[in-house]
């Protein structure tokens, strides 16, 4: 075994890790706050949560949506805080990229230099020794390090478990919450027991990290703050006073970094969305954008009461149309196409191809439900209207006026969402008019909604009235690719 110490790369990755993991924890709490309930079932049935981090009580006699359940967490615990899911997501995904890169560098160097021996229990005796070490700590004493090693047995096992079990587990359960991965590899999410199991386990692992961090910091103090931090500053137990001062200054710097990032994010959300989005969007496009859905849940899996997001249009025009079972409904399809067309609901219902799919719906807030959707594959409509060669996007205009119809979301104007043209050609991209064997309910988007199974729910426009083919979307709204992208800073490509 090589001599194990604290080389510069261990010290550098340790500090970089602190930065990323602290941002991951705060932004993760922001994401959790948007649907502060955890389940062991993919229905996310109200009342079935095993943990709830909210005191809100929802009405039983009025339609509420999951935006109404969102919590406003303080910026002290959440990044950036104050119901900013979109911005929290940007921070979480940028941080996770940095964290994974840092972790990979650490693990590669760990094996390349032989430092991995510090974590490997060569003898079964390490386990009872770790227990004895714990007893020693509980007796307010310090256990000795293992011969020739930098850690005692308990530290060896704990650090090894954090690096090789807890961190990968957190990455895997995070990935299991990606609708693109779930849609393409349904077995992957089932491996964790389902999407809500993955979300709950991700939360449990967060708690484990928090417990580890608290005990780790406490132990640094117990073992001797200056002496222990010197190992991570100078690589050896030298200059303890200087090490303590540098460490405290570094921790203060970390606090200032968080404070400044939070202030900037809340003061300049659009700029934050653009800057962080550039990093995450390119990564997601490479990793997730080409995945297509292959879901086929069983009828027994269907959620009895599929959850809802978004509220129905309140215009009298819509209500009268609904009272007439949408007999006057016409879907207009235009923009940069060779054959603009309109379809009545009846024409869509009698379209030569009728497709049904039983799929998992992933809300951006974290809840899920399983539904059966029936409708016309969008690719067939695309082939009929024949987009011009310059077309790159499809915009779905809805009958919802968000300023009036969705008071839980800031901003006004007609709700719309833009998707990349290639997503329209995917096998399970559907214009749905039926749900679970009956007409599409009003609360789920009647008479027509989009199903786009590799993306999170807000992209699947409901109450659609017009579809427009575009070469560019920068002139629509704030130019970010959708109403939620414009007003609540969500990301346009949401495969995770």
């Amino acid at each position: 075994m090589p001599e194990l110490d604290f080389p510069a790369w261990i010290r550098i990755t340790h500090f970089i890790n602190i930065i990323f993991i602290s941002f991951l924890i705060r932004s993760g709490i922001e994401i959790l706050g948007t649907h502060p309930k955890l389940y062991w079932n993919d229905d996310s049935k109200p009342g079935s949560e095993w943990a709830r981090l909210t005191r809100k009580v929802m009405p039983r006699d009025k339609l509420y949506d999951t935006l109404d359940e969102e919590e406003d967490y303080s910026s002290i615990v959440a990044m950036p805080g104050h119901k900013q899911l979109g911005l929290g997501r940007h921070w979480h995904f940028v941080s996770v990229l940095g964290w994974i890169l840092c972790g990979l560098t650490y693990v590669i160097l760990l094996f390349a230099t032989g430092e991995w021996h510090r974590f490997w229990p060569y003898s079964w005796a390490v386990f009872p020794q770790a227990f004895k070490d714990m007893v020693t700590y509980l007796n307010f004493d310090l256990p000795p390090t293992l011969p020739g090693e930098p850690y005692n047995a308990l530290q060896k096992l704990t650090y090894g478990a954090v690096v090789f079990v807890l961190a990968p587990f957190q990455i895997l359960t995070g990935a299991a919450q990606s609708p693109a991965l779930e849609a393409r590899f349904p077995w992957y999410v089932r491996m964790f027991g389902g999407r809500q199991w993955a979300r709950s386990l991700h939360f449990v692992a967060l708690l484990a990290f928090l417990v580890f961090i608290v005990i780790h910091l406490f132990m640094v103090v117990v073992h001797g703050f200056g002496k222990e931090t010197a190992k991570m500053i100078f690589g050896a137990e030298v200059y303890p006073e200087a090490a303590a001062i540098i460490t405290l200054a570094a921790l203060l710097g970390l606090v200032v970094l968080h404070w400044a990032s939070t202030k900037y994010t809340l003061a300049r959300p659009r700029s934050t969305q653009r800057i962080l989005g550039k990093v995450t969007n390119n990564t997601r496009r490479v990793l997730l954008h080409r995945l297509s859905s292959r879901q086929d849940y069983s009828r027994a899996d269907l959620t009895p009461e599929h959850r809802v997001n978004g509220k129905p249009p309140t215009s009298d025009e819509y209500k009268i149309m609904a009272a007439h079972n949408f007999a006057d409904y016409e879907l207009e399809i235009g923009g940069l196409v060779e054959r603009p067309m309109t379809f009545t609901l009846e024409e869509l219902r009698t379209f030569p191809t009728k497709q049904s799919q039983r799929v998992l719906h992933n809300c951006v807030q974290g809840w899920t439900s399983i539904g059966e959707w029936t409708g016309v594959p969008l690719r067939q409509i695309v082939e009929l209207v024949r987009p011009r060669p310059e077309v790159r996007y499809v915009c779905f205009w809805t009958m919802q006026d968000s300023g009036i119809d969705e008071p839980s979301a800031p901003g006004g104007g007609q709700f719309y969402e833009v998707i990349d043209l290639h997503l329209a050609y995917q096998a399970q991209t559907l214009l749905a008019y039926d749900m679970n064997g009956g007409p599409l309910p009003i609360k789920h988007g009647a008479p027509l909604r989009l199903r786009l199974e590799t993306q999170v729910g807000f992209k699947m426009a409901k109450w659609i009235e017009r579809i427009e083919f575009l070469d560019d979307y920068s002139h629509i709204g704030e130019g970010m690719g959708g109403w939620r992208e414009d007003h609540v800073y969500y990301d346009k490509d949401v495969g995770i």
Partner: protein
């Protein structure tokens, strides 16, 4: 679970709706006709955030064959039409 959001009305209930139309002297916004056929009623109190409990949109179809926009509706409270004798 299949949920029908519209309520089908009995003949009595439809007659009551026509009575309300007469009381309000409601005419078709498109052609001015007073001759309507009563259709189904959409319960709105639960679904729409701006509607009171017990409020319905009752579907009306203008019977004038020349009407350019025959489908319309009237907002009524359930106490005005939706009870069984």
């Amino acid at each position: 679970m299949i949920i029908r959001e519209n309520t089908q009305l009995t003949e009595d209930q439809k007659r009551r709706v026509l009575g309300r139309l007469e009381e309000q002297d409601l005419a078709c916004a498109s052609c001015g006709s007073n001759d309507f056929r009563v259709g189904e009623a959409l319960g709105m109190g639960f679904l729409f955030l701006d509607e009171e409990h017990g409020t319905y949109m009752v579907a009306l179809t203008c019977e004038n064959p020349g009407c350019g926009s025959p489908r319309t509706g009237i907002r009524l409270h359930r106490s005005e039409f939706l009870w069984d004798e």
